[in-house]
């Protein structure tokens, strides 16, 4: 489904990702773990299409070349990124934003726009999923939201957009244990045979709630180790020290 081959990303001349390879099959959940500064968020933004990145390599989703697409076209192709820091947009109504987003991808796919009544149903189901109250939809997008509310809003958007590939960037950061439970159960409810997920996290804690099929360790712009969920447990116990040693060597070699 998602095929990443030798992906390199530089920002302002500084290389961040240095040849990342990843294969994600349909319905699979992959966790990407790594220390601060290893390039986890850059990988997420490279998939979503952030401007200002120098990107090389190959990224395809069901054969379609993602790197050639604008961010909005990637969304239409089925990519959804949950932001680590969801953006506050004062003055833009959350409900209107969601409906505009959904209708935009439907139009891009040559589908009819959703009716107001049908949309309300979709939105209601999504709100139930993340245990949000009705007034959530009438507020401005993320404006004045608590950290937990912002993350729940990301999962709400994911539930409405129904992506093929969800990339969740540090969805657990800044969450207390109750919010984490709500967000994780929302994500779990959205797992399915046709939906793949990449869950990016610094801590193993989230993976207690969202059990990944594969775990990858990202250090200094490369995946240095892959395994099943027991790898996360190992990291929890031992930290990244084992891999950082190797990283230091690599850095030394390239300098």
């Amino acid at each position: 489904m998602l095929h990443v081959d030798d992906l390199t990303v530089s920002i302002g001349g500084t290389p961040i990702l240095k040849g990342l390879d990843l294969e994600v099959g349909p319905g699979e959940v992959h966790a990407i773990m790594g220390p601060n500064g290893s390039g986890k968020s850059t990988f997420a933004h490279a998939l979503a299409g952030r401007e200002g990145y120098d990107v090389e390599g190959t990224v395809t989703l069901d054969g379609a070349d993602l790197l050639a697409m604008e961010p909005e076209d990637r969304a239409a192709a089925g990519v959804f990124m949950g932001f680590q820091y969801p953006v506050e947009i004062p003055g833009v109504n959350n409900m209107y934003f969601l409906r505009t987003a959904l209708n935009s991808v439907r139009r891009s796919r040559g589908e009819d726009e959703i009716s107001a009544r049908e949309f309300l149903k979709v939105a209601q189901e999504a709100m139930d999923l993340v245990e949000m109250k009705q007034d959530f939809l009438n507020r401005s997008v993320n404006a004045g939201f608590s950290g937990g509310e912002k993350k729940r809003n990301e999962i709400l958007q994911m539930a409405v957009m129904q992506p093929k590939l969800a990339v969740l960037d540090e969805t657990d950061s800044g969450l207390d244990i109750d919010a984490l439970r709500v967000v994780a159960s929302g994500v779990n409810a959205l797992r399915g045979p046709e939906r793949s997920m990449i869950v990016i996290t610094h801590y193993q804690r989230l993976l207690d709630y969202i059990k990944p099929d594969y775990v990858h360790v990202l250090v200094n712009g490369r995946i240095v180790e892959s395994g099943d969920h027991t790898l996360a447990l190992h990291l929890e116990e031992k930290g990244y020290a084992d891999f950082l040693g190797e990283d230091a060597e690599l850095t030394g070699a390239s300098a």
Binding site: R74, A75, F83, P86, V87, P90
Partner: protein, 404 residues
């Protein structure tokens, strides 16, 4: 019925002979298009034989009675005053009942700038609103400018009096017709009695070939509340100046507005709030969006006079520049001559937030539509507490969106 011109009008007519137009050196007219202003020609109001057919469609559809002036003359065909509640006078100045007519002799300040003098000289007709008690309906005054053969600009006058404890909402729509050069000059004089509450809204949407000069003078008695909103959207040069005097203790003035410029428009707001009494509150909150080669001007002053202790004032002016050739001149100013005051002010000038744009695009929203969402989101915040759906609907439709 002929009535001799009141002295102030006669004086103004006399002053016309030696009138000097404002120049760059006048702070309040510093960025105005002086050459264009000098081409405006005024004269005694004259009724048109036929009001252009595009006027009706431009008038916002608001519930409630309306009075329509075309080139400073009442247009009876488009005016519909209906049945008014007891305690409400809403009529043309020329139709003012005798007790009200006496009131028209008084004026607020008699500013000596050329366009105020012109207004006193030729703005003989206009609208009168006098309210005691509460008016639930919105009173709508429409001023239409159609450049004529004898002179290209019109003048009119609006007088609004609210008695003690009275409340009302008045909307002044200022529009025009045709593609010829011309303009309108409208003076509004507002007097609020103790504990009176007025919501006053100006919708300025003249054609791009015309100029608009508006001036609003307000005197507020103790514990009265003014909510003044300006939507300064149309005209080649659209200007509204507010002069608000908080004369009675505990008076409150909330002024807000939106200017949204395209092409070569210049949109000018001149705001002065004078705190003359103790414990008064004022808020100035304006937003500007400037595209193409448009220019915005915001000159906001809070003037705290000696003895006006306990003054609480805030000013904010936020601007969004959408093009490299758009420009804004923002001047928040404080003049404080009293003790124990709380005055805050600030101004911002920014561009569309790239991160917000990316966030919206990552949700599948096309770049142009995402920009529009952000721009409208910025502008719509001016209307957060605007309860009149008709006005809100008109503004959002005028700005090319409507999502409620």
């Amino acid at each position: 019925m002929t009535v001799a011109a009141p002295t102030w009008q006669a004086d103004a007519l006399e002053q016309l002979a030696s009138l000097a137009l404002p120049t760059k050196r006048d702070e309040a007219w510093r960025y105005s298009p002086h050459a264009k202003l000098s081409q405006l020609t005024f004269g005694p109001a004259a009724a048109l034989d036929e009001v252009p057919s595009d006027v009706e469609a431009q008038i916002p559809v608001l519930d409630g009675p309306r009075l329509v002036l075309v080139n400073g003359v009442v247009d009876p065909g488009r005016t519909n005053l209906g049945a008014l509640a007891d305690g409400v006078v809403f009529c043309a100045l020329s139709e003012a009942p005798p007790p009200a007519a006496a009131r028209l002799q008084q004026t607020h300040e008699s500013p000596d700038d050329a366009f105020s003098v012109i207004n006193r000289a030729y703005g003989t007709e206009g609208a009168l609103v006098q309210v005691s008690g509460q008016v639930d309906v919105l009173l709508h005054i429409v001023d239409v400018s159609v450049p004529g053969a004898t002179h290209n600009a019109s003048a009119s006058r609006v007088v609004i009096d609210l008695a003690e404890g009275a409340s009302a909402t008045v909307v002044e729509t200022r529009i025009g017709s045709g593609t010829g050069f011309g303009g309108s000059n409208v003076r509004t004089e507002i007097t609020l009695g103790a504990e009176a509450t007025l919501e006053h809204i100006i919708l300025q949407d003249l054609p791009a070939s015309q100029l608009h000069i508006g001036r609003v003078d307000v005197d507020q008695a103790a514990s009265s509340t003014l909510r003044a909103r300006l939507f300064n959207l149309g005209a080649d040069y659209g200007r509204v100046a507010y002069h608000v005097h908080l004369v009675g203790e505990g008076a409150r003035a909330e002024l807000s507005g939106l200017y949204f410029g395209f092409g070569d428009q210049t949109l000018d707001q001149q705001i002065t709030v004078v705190h003359e009494a103790k414990d008064c509150t004022s808020r100035q909150s304006y937003r500007g969006v400037l595209d193409d080669s448009s220019t915005g001007i915001w000159n906001g002053c809070v003037d705290v006079r000696p003895g006006a202790d306990g003054t609480d004032s805030e000013q904010s002016n936020d601007n969004l520049l959408l093009s490299k050739t758009a420009e804004v001149n923002t001047m928040p100013r404080l003049e404080i001559l009293a003790d124990e005051v709380s005055c805050q002010h600030g101004a911002t000038v920014g561009q569309l937030d790239d991160t917000a744009l990316y966030y919206l695009r990552s949700r599948g929203i096309r770049k142009d539509e995402a920009s529009r969402l952000l721009i409208n989101g910025f502008a719509d915040q001016v209307m957060d507490d605007l309860e009149h759906h008709g006005v809100r609907g008109w503004v959002t439709a005028r700005l090319g969106h409507g999502h409620e």
